[in-house]
């Protein structure tokens, strides 16, 4: 709905009544379009309201970042302090540490969590046994529905030195003689998070690619077979180009989300020993903002987060537009 609206707004000529409307101009044209498409507008209204209420109204709260916000006082009574909280944020060493962790983990997540599902989807597509294919697909996306609390429990148990499965395996294979303290080593933490994220989301992320692959015209494969292309060639020249659009759109979106990776994983898997590697921006906002009732400081972090996200989104969009001619805006 949004899509139709956006399209017709930008290019009224492309709308259903385009030909008739192209001649008129200005506000008159707008109203005419609106009238002729009133049902479309009407149907999109709930979504516009929804977006407004949940995405734009809260923006008012950004004013907090420029005040010494005290709960219980009215807006007029708050003290305005300009960029004080931003200064504090940008001079805190810890901020750069958590920013590093956030970016490191999201980049690792982006690379792994992006490449592997595509590979998985492409390979799964090559499997001919229908039953096997379905089974693998179902099993692989089931973990998506397991909450992080449970996943974190499983991961810590698996990696435990006290008869954890992974250590037992490594010792049985004589790769190591002493159980490895996976959870106590900061430099392991990012990999553990990335790996558990991959396990949890692999199947789920692959679904959209599988759907895109299903949409490729089978005649293309037939034609290539006639031309003598083997399976690998088909993957390279037909399957992957066939889902290029999907890949680009998802890539741009993931890049836009780079900095806001949530904190459940880090919160649940982390411990005091690996804190310097596990604390991410959202966790920092929680610990040093909300928990200390420093609402203004927390909001400042949030604004930083949003600004960087929007910047990254445009950057990714622009770059991909140049390189692949694909974009979402």
């Amino acid at each position: 709905m949004e899509l139709v609206k956006a399209l017709t707004e930008k290019h009224p000529a492309a709308g259903p009544d385009g030909a008739a409307l192209a001649a008129s101009s200005g506000p008159a044209r707008f109203w005419k379009v609106m009238k002729s498409q009133k049902y479309l507008y009407f149907m999109s209204m709930p979504f516009v309201i929804w977006v407004f209420v949940f995405s734009y109204m809260p923006l008012w709260g950004w004013t907090m970042a420029f005040q010494d916000f005290k709960a219980g006082k009215t807006f007029g009574e708050q003290k305005w302090v300009g960029f004080k909280h931003f200064q504090e944020l940008f001079t805190d060493e810890r901020f750069y540490l958590v920013l590093r962790n956030t970016l490191a983990m999201s980049l690792m997540g982006l690379i792994v969590g992006f490449v592997v599902p595509i590979l998985f989807a492409v390979l799964l597509n090559e499997v001919k046994g229908r039953l096997f294919k379905r089974t693998v697909q179902t099993i692989s996306y089931l973990p998506h529905f397991v909450s992080w609390v449970v996943v974190a429990g499983i991961v810590t148990k698996m990696l435990s030195t006290d008869s954890g499965a992974v250590n037992n395996l490594l010792m049985w294979l004589h790769i190591t003689d002493e159980p490895i303290q996976f959870m106590a080593k900061g430099n392991w933490f990012w990999s553990i998070v990335t790996a558990s994220d991959l396990w949890k989301e692999l199947g789920w992320s692959a679904i959209i690619y599988l759907a895109a692959i299903a949409g490729i015209d089978p005649e293309l494969y037939e034609a290539s077979r006639v031309d003598g292309a083997n399976r690998l060639r088909q993957m390279w020249h037909i399957t992957l180009p066939g889902i290029r659009t999907t890949i680009s759109v998802l890539l741009i979106m993931s890049i836009g989300h780079l900095i806001s990776i949530g904190f459940e994983k880090q919160f649940l898997l982390g411990n005091n020993l690996v804190k310097d590697y596990s604390e991410v921006l959202d966790l920092y906002a929680l610990n040093y903002g909300l928990s200390l009732a420093r609402f203004s400081f927390g909001t400042a972090i949030g604004i930083f987060n949003s600004v960087v996200s929007i910047f990254l989104l445009f950057l990714a969009n622009g770059v991909l537009k140049k390189v692949t001619k694909e974009s979402i805006m």
Binding site: T161, M183, A184, S260, L290, G298, G302
Partner: protein, 581 residues
């Protein structure tokens, strides 16, 4: 396309501005005025208390109060338990409660303050300062004066301690976390050792870290496995805030300090400084470091989550703990019946050397501070205070502690006793017992006398008294205690009378000063300690000093001195306020 951009903004904005969005957080309960059944309570109004003159006139129209509690209460039964029904009948009040899931409710209370929407009543523990700063709590001074004879009676000489601070003498909180005039009959802290260890070693003296270590070492050498799995000589639970209970608090206990939270308060000058900076405590951690390097301390002590810790204890493989009973009790219950209780734990006042005294029982007097408060959103503060007043009446306290006469207790020769079958149910199936009867669920709703205080009939107010405690011990525990010539674990600890009462109570329940730097520096210091202590303990013995000293250095760097000064003032103010008459 536009949608995408909006979603982008939404995801980030919503997360961070949760404070603004969470307008539903307070969630005031709807007032289900079923006017139909108000006469039930009115006719059966036999408020026994003669002293309670006002109670007779009390309005018993059904009213629902919403409530938020900062301590988890997993057995809360929406007042459908037996005690709850009687409370509703006698007061007309139904509590619609919400509890913190576990640990802290700091975030939830911060959200409340930010959104400005509060439940009618709140039990905020240490975060009460946030609500007071936001102007969320009403001053109860006049209400108590007018409507609450029982509250006045129960708090008695401690009324002075109810005032919020030296500057703000309003009463915001009715302290209900601590019990009044409590006598402790049993010890639940100190250093723990399994009964089987003590028995096999012939009940050696366990007084110093060295004794404790030797017991673990000797037994572990003989029994490296338990039921085919590796025995764990000593483990800790350092998951989040639990690091204070089993990690840093034992450091001051073992070096002869009472519990003043993160601070050491100089008893003469009231000067506050972080206890972790004392050189004695470094020696305690050096000992833990040694334990780790000798393989006596669980490798996972600083990594495991609470559930892993508990599952180890429930397996019976852990010989020693440094914890409080409430921290591991449910895990211990799981293995209580095995071998007559050989896998349960005894408590010992272990300190760094024999000339240092364990201060577990250093008296604090009544600890005001944590308790129940009425918010400005409360529809009917008068009914609320009358409700809390009734809960504090003798009738209310007995109901909350003992249950209903003829059901959960009988009166024999004028004294309340719990029938054997009820007692059995209470010990063996405590969860269902609590859910059905409601005994223990209403602890924070109003003040209560402590263990050892008797009501006019000569019965104890609470169900914890020496006979009852000993009856709850396993055979193995009784055997151990007998060997040490004691009846309860507490007998092994230095007595209250050996200490002087601290005029400020205990520093951990002095509200955090509302200086904006204070909280930030405190949090930074906490982060440093929570990270560096595990690092120091797990270091090679040669590196211990280096790591520990770098922690001290970092603490200096975050300007700890500044908040120590602020806190010193807070302690001094508290002393002045509490000693005023």
């Amino acid at each position: 396309m536009k949608m995408l951009k909006m979603r982008q903004t939404r995801a980030t904005a919503v997360l961070v501005l949760a404070g603004v969005l969470a307008v539903t957080a307070g969630c005031s309960g709807s007032n289900n005025n079923g006017a139909g059944n108000s006469n039930v309570a009115a006719t059966s109004n036999t408020q026994g208390e003669a002293a309670n003159a006002d109670a007779g006139k009390q309005d018993l129209k059904p009213v629902t109060f919403s409530f938020f509690g900062a301590d988890a209460s997993p057995n809360w039964n929406k007042m459908q338990d037996e005690v709850g029904k009687v409370i509703t009948e006698k007061t007309g009040v139904t509590i619609k409660a919400e509890y913190a899931v576990s640990g802290g409710a700091t975030d939830k209370i911060s959200l409340m303050a930010a959104s400005g929407q509060y439940p009618d009543m709140v039990f905020a523990k240490g975060d009460v300062d946030k609500l007071v700063d936001a102007g969320a709590l009403i001053d109860l001074t006049d209400l108590i004066d007018k409507y609450a004879p029982n509250l006045k009676k129960v708090y008695g000489k401690y009324m002075q301690r109810l005032k919020y601070s030296k500057e703000d003498t309003s009463i915001y909180v009715l302290p209900s976390n601590d019990s009044i005039d409590q006598t402790y009959f049993d010890a639940g802290g100190g250093f723990e050792l399994q009964q089987r260890v003590l028995k096999e070693l012939g009940y050696p003296q366990i007084r110093t870290l060295e004794d404790y270590e030797n017991a673990l070492k000797t037994y572990y050498a003989k029994h490296p496995t338990t039921d085919g799995k590796p025995t764990i000589p000593l483990t800790l639970d350092t998951d989040d805030w639990r690091i204070m209970i089993t990690g840093t608090n034992p450091a001051f206990l073992a070096t002869g300090l009472p519990d003043d939270g993160e601070y050491y308060i100089n008893p003469d000058t009231y000067e506050a400084s972080f206890h972790i900076r004392r050189p004695e405590e470094k020696e305690y951690f050096r000992w833990l470091n040694k334990m780790f390097n000798e393989g006596l301390l669980d490798k996972e002590a600083f990594v495991q989550k609470s559930d892993q810790y508990k599952s180890k204890i429930a397996s019976g493989r852990v010989l020693g703990l440094i914890d409080q009973e409430w921290g591991y009790g449910d895990a211990e219950n799981a293995i209580k019946s095995k071998d007559e209780g050989a896998y349960t734990y005894g408590h010992f006042p272990v300190t760094i050397s024999a000339d240092v005294k364990d201060h577990s029982f250093a008296p604090t007097g009544f600890m005001a501070g944590y308790g129940i408060a009425i918010t400005k959103d409360c529809k009917d503060p008068v009914r609320a205070i009358q409700f809390l007043d009734w809960m504090a009446s003798d009738e209310g306290q007995v109901l909350r502690n003992w249950g209903i006469e003829g059901k959960q207790y009988n009166v024999e020769n004028g004294i309340r006793v719990i029938p054997a079958d009820i007692q059995k149910q209470k010990i063996e199936d405590n969860t269902n017992f609590t859910k059905n009867t409601g005994i223990g669920l209403y602890f924070v709703f109003g003040p209560h006398y402590g263990d050892g205080v008797k009501d006019p009939s000569g019965s104890y107010y609470t169900t914890n008294f020496p006979d009852q405690i000993v009856a709850g011990y396993t055979n193995a525990e009784k055997e151990t205690l007998k060997a040490y010539g004691a009846t309860t674990w507490k007998d092994l600890f230095p007595k209250e009378t050996e200490f002087k009462e601290r005029p400020y109570g205990a520093a951990w329940n002095i509200p955090a000063p509302s200086d904006s730097d204070y909280n930030v520096i405190f949090k930074k210091a906490e982060d440093i300690i929570w990270k560096k202590i595990p690092e120091a303990v797990l270091a090679k013995p040669a590196d211990f000093d280096k790591v520990y000293d770098s922690m001290l250095k970092q603490l200096d760097d975050v300007n700890l001195g500044k908040i120590e000064k602020i806190y010193t003032q807070a302690v001094k103010d508290r002393v002045e306020q509490w000693s005023a008459k």
